[in-house]
Each structure stands twice: as C-alpha cells, then as structure tokens.
C-alpha cells in the first residue's frame, strides 16, 4: 500500500469511527424532514459524503452529530426543500390557542401515560407541523442537540429555537389529544 493509499485509508477509518455511530439520529431527522424514504436515503448519503470531503475542517472533540446535522439541514434547505411536495400543515396559532383548555381537560393519568398516543400518531402530528417548528423539534428531540447547536444548524438565534420548540410541543399535545379523542379515548373523570 502506498503512502497516499494509507493516508486515505486512515482518513476513512477515522471518519467512519467518528461519524457513522450517529447514522440513526441523522437518518431519523432526514426521514422526518423529507417524508420520503428515497429522498431521506439520498439526503443522508449526501450528508456523509460532504462531511467526508470536509472532514479536515472538523475539529476533534466537538460534537460530530451537531456538525452532521448542520450539513444535513443545509443540504435539505438548498436542494430538497423546494422540490419536495409540501405536506399539509396545521395552524400552530390555532393549536396553541387550544392548549390551555386541552391541558385542563386532560386527566392526570392522561398526562402521565404515554400509551394513549401511538408512534404513528406522533409521526403524523410531527409531519403536520410547519417546517420551521418541526425542524426545531427534530434537531432537539430526535437529534438530541442543545438549543445552541440547533440554532447554529438552523442559522437562527437560540431564543428562536427555544420559542419554536415551546410552541411546537404545545401544538403537538393538542394534535395528539385530538387523535386520542377521535380514537374513542375519554379522559377519566376528575375527582374534586
């Protein structure tokens, strides 16, 4: 093996060790951004290839997952967002308005149990969020980035991430309670 071959091999080995452990999180975000299995695969592959080509610019010891998600979001915004079929999104303001009454009407068991919402319902409620809000939830809750890392990926202030996340979670709660109600769930009668 020649010296350049050995160097390339070493770079690839270091990259795979550093970046591939985050594939699950990266794909989880990609899939929920695109809502298309093929586009998500392409987006993830493109993210890893671009990261590999600029791996020299990655500082060891910093958050590799945040770096990968920043690249992924940048590619998504520049390449996939425009051609993607826009899913129907909900009015976040309307759902926020319903949040206080929905919380009040939910019984204690309802609030503490996670069994009333299926994964499919959570996915559907996420998909219906406007993209800016969904991106904040995906980066923080699926990608498990800090607010600061998510803000860097989204190129917006930290306060914006915090606000979008708060509003998105309230909207998700209302949407998911609606699903549960339509499925026949009734909140337990509250004791005085």
């Amino acid at each position: 093996m020649t010296a350049p071959d050995a160097q390339a091999e070493e770079k690839r080995r270091r990259f795979e060790e550093t970046a591939l452990p985050f594939l699950r999180a990266i794909h989880g975000v990609a899939w929920r951004l695109t809502h298309d299995a093929e586009e998500a695969r392409d987006l993830v592959q493109e993210t890893y290839l671009r990261a590999y080509r600029t791996f020299e610019g990655f500082r060891a010891g910093t958050n590799c997952k945040a770096w990968l998600l920043t690249i992924l979001y940048s590619i998504f915004v520049n390449r996939y967002r425009k051609k993607r079929r826009q899913p129907r999104t909900i009015s976040i303001e309307e759902l926020e308005r319903q949040f206080p009454s929905q919380v009040e009407s939910a019984g204690p068991m309802d609030r503490l149990s996670d069994r009333l919402w299926s994964d499919r319902e959570v996915e559907e409620a996420l998909a219906a969020l406007p993209e800016d809000f969904r991106s904040a939830v995906l980066l923080v809750d699926v990608g498990e980035l800090s607010y600061e890392e998510a803000a860097a990926a989204l190129a917006c202030p930290v306060g914006t991430v915090r606000s979008r996340l708060f509003r998105a979670r309230k909207a998700l709660f209302v949407s998911l309670q609606d699903y549960a109600r339509r499925a026949g769930y009734r909140a337990p009668t509250r004791t005085p």
Partner: protein
Amino acid sequence: MNDVRNHLDVEIQDLLDGRLNAAELRRVELHLADCERCRAVRDALGRVRRSVRGLPPAAGLDVLKREIVERLEGEPPRIRRLRRFGVAALLAAAAILAVVLLLASRRKDLPAAAASDFDQYTSRAFSLELATGHPELLEGYFSQRGVKFPTRVFDLSMMGYRLIGGRVHRLAGRTSALFVYRGPNDRTLLCEMFEGLASELPAGAERRVHNGIPFFLYRRSGRTEVFWPEGRILCVLVSDMNAEEVVQLAFAKAVKP
C-alpha cells in the same frame, strides 16, 4: 385550576430540557409545588417530549450504512498517487512539471475551487468574518483587509436575496472577496471576486452572452457556477438552486468595465 397567580411559561420547558440554573430551578420547583395548572403543563409537555424522543428508528439502517461505506470507499484520495519512480527521477519530473502544473492549475482549478468553497461554507467548514446586510460595509471591510482590487458587493434584496456577510478568502491560490446571500426558501448563494481572466477558465463551460458580456456556465454535481469577467476581475456565483435562477442573477448584476 383557577389559580390567578402568575403562571410559569417557557420556564417549564427549560426545566424539562435541563436548562435552569440552581436558583431558577428552585424557584420553578417552588411554584410547581403550589400550582396545579403549571404541573399539568409540565406533564403535558413532558409527555410530548418523551413521545418524540422515543420514536423508533426507521428500518433499513444496516443497508444504508453499507451503502455509505461503499460510497466512501469510492471517494478518490485527495493526494495524487505517486508512481514508483526513484527519488531522483521523481524530483526531476517534479521540477519539470512544476511550471506546467502551476500554469495548468490556474486554468482548471477555478470552477472546482469555487464549488469546493460553496460546499465548505454550507457545511460550516469556514465561517464569514463580517456578518452584515450592508454591501457598502462589506466593500469597506474588503478594502481594509488589503484586498487590492475594487470589489462590488451586490444588492440583491429586490430579488429576494439577503446579504449575510463575507470574508477575505483564497480561491485557487489567489485572494478572493467572498460573500454570501440567503435567498427564498433559505437557499444559499455564494459569490466570489478575484483577479483573473476568462481565458483561465477550463473547457466544458456553456458560454452565453448577455449585454455584450460573456458568461461561462458550469453545472456539476447539482451545483451551478456562473463566471464572468469585469476587466481584470473574475466574478462567480455558485449555488445549488435552479441553474437558470443563478444565470439570471448573474445577468442582472454583471457590468461592463
């Protein structure tokens, strides 16, 4: 639920996400101990948070991982492979080739270098030195930083492109004034100006002429690059947006020297 005190708001989320300091945490916990309404909000938001975080991974990750590894193995190494010459022969060949490579690199590297700059910027491999939306401030910055040629930072706001900022950069071994715009749907548009001639551009460009100005269009790997000369300066716009949009922006902003 008829509590009329000042309820907590986004602090409840800060609690769930572990973003409160000790004093804030104590204050929030004291409030929660006495406020049923805020406890209900905490439980509701906490349940949403757990539900999203607990979503299962999509199927097929093993296949995807294998595909990524295969594509990485297909990536050419950046360092050129050396032939098995002896050291003396290698040095002699290097000396002869040095001048040729120097000249050739100036011809063939410009589109590849500009595309690489775009990729590196969008993957945050480098950052902008001055964040500003004011073209005149950026032009002043380039001048202060010793850029020896006049720069012309475009105002593209009428076309929906907001100037983000810029940096003094190196493009294929020469000083470049690099600046970036954010367009509709958060699309990135990168512009560089540097000393050079259109004759240095490699073959393979689609050539167009608009208002008497020649434009050289390269489309590679989903990116569009449009070069044009302004006297001794070469300008280039790079983006992965629709190619014609990039071309029209170049047409709109190019001037005859």
